[in-house]
Symmetry: D2
Subunit: 485 residues, 4 copies
């Protein structure tokens, strides 16, 4: 492996965030590299840059398009199932090393680049545009500079029962407010941009199908995070405790989302990837989502494993591992976990080739997503059930360490022979942090809403599923003539 790995270090990444960007936290402008709230976020994202330095992972997480230089494998346009499986694997790896919290600064961005790759070719073919060249240049730019990218897709939407042009405020969906000789001016806001405040690039795409009258809303582009007019209001939710004991995960691993405002931001032509092509807005949104739902289910594996592992660990500690109802619960957790993981692999294995790009099978990725999202809470409940009420009624770290109370805590909260009170509390704290805390609540919402809602998964499934063979079988057995389907 003599090729040179051209990736940034963690320090380079952190340094790149000191670029004058406008990020607000609790009403004030902040430097994300020097603010306690952002500490665990930045450190967490740093993992992305540490992984390739580990010889054990280097080959897995990099690739060489020309046999010479090695870049982050995220940028490799998937050619087949193996590429998708490898991609799934590195998403899993990063999330696992990130304490089950996804590192979403290359995954989501490249999901979007892959969608641009496909749709730009289709636009060029149909409309004689020249988007593919721009897309390709931008892809190489990000790859060669090893950039962190956020994707801003979800418009704030106003009244959800109305389309963009019919809203009370025409800025409820991001739109082109002016076209200039060298580019466009955009205005609007996107909700919940994951890691926006800590990315180098913001990539913006439409969130839905658009009709002809929505022309100004059919816009896709990329801007640096410090572009003039870009303002990010970071959300404070999801857990801010800094006790490693009480919050073993969230004290050092944390996402951040922003309400991302485009206050008349200029975008030069080479960074504009859609401008008014309303008929391609829906396909772009859908294609992005096809890649992104596959990312979504790939990064669930670590949290699924953790639910299984935590359940077994706490049941062992509590001395109930052999009880029949406990075994039933653990079996259900395993089945839940492996069903999602198995269907994820099926999505890679059943991929289809579109515009020379391997697209994960949307039937399996959406079933996996739906299965995961609609059953998450119930499986969290199983783990909480095994853990016991002490999860929220137990003593604090300070009680354990205090000279006046420590002795009582150690005496009375020891569990099964050989398990100290401290170890028991550590396991309980892990489970509370993961499932029954600000961070746990964040997780619940994430499972339901991130990468598309449960309803969206069903709609996609119905649209993508080829039910023809099923209906044929029914018609054949019923001995009726083929009706229109």
């Amino acid at each position: 492996m003599c090729a040179e790995v051209l990736l940034r270090t963690k320090d380079q990444f952190i340094g790149s965030l000191r670029d004058g960007r406008t990020v607000y936290f609790k009403g004030e402008k902040v430097d994300v590299t020097a603010h306690t709230f952002f500490d665990p976020v930045i450190n967490h994202l740093g993992i992305e840059f540490e992984i390739p330095e580990n010889p054990q992972y280097r080959d897995l997480v990099t690739f060489s398009p020309n046999g010479k230089d090695r870049y982050s494998r995220y940028f490799k346009i998937p050619q087949d199932s193996q590429d998708l499986l490898a991609r799934s694997c590195i998403i899993d790896l990063g999330t696992r090393l990130g304490g089950t919290v996804v590192l979403l600064i290359k995954e989501i961005g490249t999901d979007c680049l892959f969608a641009f790759n496909i749709i730009s070719k289709q636009m060029d073919a149909k409309l004689q545009t020249e988007y593919f060249k721009r897309v390709s240049n931008y892809h190489n730019y990000c790859m060669k500079n090893d950039l962190a990218m956020a994707v801003a897709q979800t418009d704030v939407k106003g009244d959800r029962s109305l389309g963009p042009s019919d809203q009370e405020d025409e800025d409820y969906y991001v739109r082109i407010v002016e076209e200039k000789s060298d580019g466009i001016i955009v205005r609007g806001a996107k909700a919940h941009t994951s890691y926006g405040p800590c990315a180098n690039e913001l990539i913006v795409i439409p969130t839905r199908n658009l009709s002809e009258k929505d022309k100004q809303y059919a816009v896709a582009f990329a801007v640096p995070a410090n572009a003039e007019g870009v303002k990010m209001i970071a959300s404070p939710f999801g857990g801010t405790t800094r006790s490693e004991f009480h919050n073993p995960i969230s004290s050092s691993h944390h996402m951040v989302e922003s309400l991302t405002i485009f206050d008349d931001v200029f975008v030069p032509w080479e960074r504009v990837f859609m401008k008014g092509e309303t008929q391609f807005a829906g396909p772009l949104a859908v294609t992005f989502v096809q890649f992104h739902r596959f990312t979504a289910i790939s990064y669930k594996a670590p949290i699924l494993d953790l639910l299984v592992g935590a359940a077994i660990l706490v049941a062992q500690m509590n001395g109930i591992i052999d009880a029949s109802h406990v075994r039933e619960k653990i079996a259900r957790l395993i089945a839940y976990s492996e069903t999602v993981k198995g269907l994820t692999r099926q999505s890679a294995l059943n991929c289809r080739k579109v515009e020379e790009t391997a697209v994960p099978d949307p039937v399996y990725s959406n079933i996996a997503k739906w299965h995961f999202a609609s059953n998450y809470h119930q499986h969290v409940a199983l783990v909480q059930d095994l853990t016991g009420g002490l999860t929220v009624t137990g003593p604090s770290e300070e009680d354990l360490k205090s000279p006046v109370t420590g002795e009582y805590v150690r005496k009375y909260l020891a569990a099964r022979r050989g398990i100290s009170a401290e170890d028991r509390l550590r396991v309980i704290n892990l489970i509370r942090d993961l499932t029954a805390s600000d961070f746990g609540g964040y997780n619940e919402l994430l499972q339901i809403h991130a990468e598309g809602s449960i309803e969206a998964s069903k709609i996609t499934l119905l649209r993508e599923y080829d039910a023809r063979p099923c209906v044929d079988l029914a018609q054949k057995l019923a001995k009726v003539k083929a009706s229109s389907f």
Copy 2:
């Protein structure tokens, strides 16, 4: 209504907590009436003492045993279904005024007094003891002084697969370590004592069936919260934010639990309600639970109503109230809520009279408890689904109020015409506080574990259900002879 209401005021209650009791919080001894953590707890409990001052509620929440003085109705030993329905009603009322957080300082204590009332009569009849007199005196003492009572039942248990006498540490279950001429000395610890640090009295009962060799563990008694040797380590979990905007419920309504240590505490004879009668330990535990599960399901009504109301409110705000999948979710929430509430009333209506006391029907109370507990998370998921990702990715109160960001928040996060961003965020914050926060996590654990686990409900149900008529019907229709059941 000329009878005099002899209840304490909120101030009298608070004053009574300044009695030298030993409460630890984060490793240090604290005065619960003068500590910010306890503020919302104390204020919340104060509601219990404000309710009777409201003429609208006075008759409902008080009763007059002698036609002259009026006491808290909680102390009325239920005679029939109507008494149980009234009791259910005042539990609901207090919880509702308490923002869905139960006020558990008279409910649980009287649940236990009712159990003492029944079991003491049975012990006296069978063993020629004189417990009933003690119990009766103590009941009157608490009633006349309008005391707040906590019940400490769950021992810390050590290895759950072993009985009390077989543990590595013989103090894993509370026990009598010495018998003196004027009383007993007890040692041990009880886990998760609800409101222990804010109660006047601690009532202690066994947590399980005991065998003959567990004689020293067959002990029930009451001590004042400031009794020498009683040490309470308060748990810090369940949400400590003090922002009314971000945490509209938990910032002003809060429970507290303690690990309650009995460090060789003396109990005089008149406060000892069981001493070595192992064969009655199980019945006492069970009888308490029969009352307490009824309390449990009675105080769920407000949170059930809130889930329904919040779901409708947020769906209206988001403009999706007429969508078919939204209607399905709301219908499921209503059915969930009313099933629990309807079965609760059935438990009161099907009560049985034991020792001149109306005991709620355990079949219906346990089905209600099981239905509630095993479906809570799934219904929380429905509400979160309707609310949207903004629940954990939205801006803070400070962002809304800041001169630099407020304008963006107000512009972009307004919802359906007529709904301001502030109102929208308030509704979202309510739902996050209730379901996706430290407090929400606390709620999830509470639903599963408080008043007995889900497994305990099933066991009770199987034990209490009279399946004879069902088996008879099956045998009759199968035309087989009655086999032993």
Copy 3:
């Protein structure tokens, strides 16, 4: 009890069916009192007439409107919760004696009479019609002659996405084709009329809301089952085996439904209860359904008890009653059963008085119906799981009795000590008949579709539920102003 009971005997009932009616079975006209298919139906319905002859039941199942003569209690217009509970009780009794198969010849008819009673008063008040008098006379006529009534409500509907007037064939909904001086001529067909071929009277009502243009479809009336032009095509499904051993229930208890055709049938004015009042078509349909869903959930009790009883019996026989997973399954069956039964009583207890008639609470009746219908299959699966594969792979009655095979069957299929192979097979046969046979399949469809579909229950629930207090609570806690609901 000196009043005279004026009810018909079973023989009188059977005799009354020999009235020249036109019933087809498998393409041929038949005499229902002399056809093997109808034998178990007729014998089953006879139970309705035998019950009042039993002194144990007489008071329960009859009532005396004038203190002198006693009629079937079914005809008593409910005045309060007690009347509804008594009605529920006699529905349960008849079904229980009928081997879990409902006797639906007075229940459904009186459900409809009660709806006529309410709606006729409302029509008279609003439209100055004189329907109430006709309704009242007809009610008395049926009561005094102790008639068996079927209700034909569900039109055949054609394309379900279109209304009556928009159908390809204007006869897809029953309609008035001609108005004469002495009455009307009706045409059309109603699907699945329960017990139509064995009733004395057919009562016809609209199946849905109608718009102004559907005037000819707004028709309600009653005709004798032998009216000229009435033709009933009886359905052969639901099990026709006549082996008491293999089909212990369905060999002697059986419903029958018909496709009921009105081939230009004349109805005299005194039997016409709606004619063109389109605005009352929906209310009549809904009011009937409010009574009928209460009937529906009342007659589920015996089959619920049987599922519980059969599960226990077979688990005992198989020697697995103490296995943890078996106990879990039985607990779930009990909870399922008692939830439906408890909610049924709540529906009676929460009744509302409309036009001097106690109407069962639709919130509880629909939740009960929904809970029952949407969970039936899953609970059947539990019973089948406990029973074992032998249910469909075991030997026949003839094998048991044959001299060549009987010995093997008796030797090898004996179960736990003391349980003979014959008894074991009887229990298994009961479960197969109930759940895994033509009759079992009939049951599954009945649970889902009879008395309104699952979707209909949800729609009714949403319409009838007063969510105002829930929304108020949410608004109060969120501190937002009341928005329109």
Copy 4:
């Protein structure tokens, strides 16, 4: 493809069943090739022999071990995932051509041969026996003669809470009653032997782990179906109607099971594959099951497709395909179907090599089995819900064809424009036959019990799952030392 295909024709297969075998049906000895009950069974099994004659399928369903002769691919000992996927594919094909009813005369037999292959090698290695040679010879014998094999595993068991040696009757498990110079004599009975009466060979293996004292029960062997002393009592359940219209599947596709009695049957040594090696009884049973559960989930694909197809077809006919709740139901059916199918492929892809044989991954096969079995009834309910009550209340074929009633049926039961009453009834009949009939009930039991119960799947899953990485992750994040697992 010049190699010669050495498979039997359908006629040769049927002829081979006229071998004097002892099969009883309804208490009498019958010739299975000349009895109306067996007609659809024999014709159905004939498909197995017709498939290879179809050039489209020939390569898929045959293989050539020596590059010369081609035999049924079922006999190919799987070497890798591809072999397992091909095996899964031909099981699916046969079942699909068999109207969703599995052809189980080569599948199950070869599942057992593969298990013999593995276990015999292990026995030989450990115990210096020479079983592998016998097994190998027998495998070749069956392959070369293209035999139909049934497997008899499930003993009748008596009291399930007792082991073989502790039963009241020592014949409750098949056992060796005598050892002779040239072989053994066996006695006992096996329950539900699929297709036993129509197989050429009966292969017998133990059903469970055995302890040292159960030596006489540790027996595995094969006998021809006409061996002296073998008596098969065929079960009559699962649907016997012969109307193609009413029962489009079960009238021509049917399984048959027998209670198979070994009345002192002699087995020569070369057909004895285990004799007293108690420690290998469990492994043999388990290894067979590992192959057989994979077979099980492979043959579910056609019925899953049919549920999806029938649901779509009937929803289209009823004109409700676009209703939101209908789409939800169809999406759920698709997800159910594809989850099982996807996990099945994962089981093949994750296979492990044992004794040079590819064994399907038991984690995925058991999750697939569990998912299928525990959700089948609920998905059947969805299809029944979409179909409507007419499923069990509609007219018969004779009504449709009768000159007196046919016209009414055709007029009134036509559905959406263009769908005739006959076509509508055909679709409804298909669904009734599949889900709500004797055959439908048979299916329900089959899904739960065939190839091992739901509980068995959970036990296997827990035993086979490697939870170590999950527990490691939990320990790492909780920062506790590795405890024993």
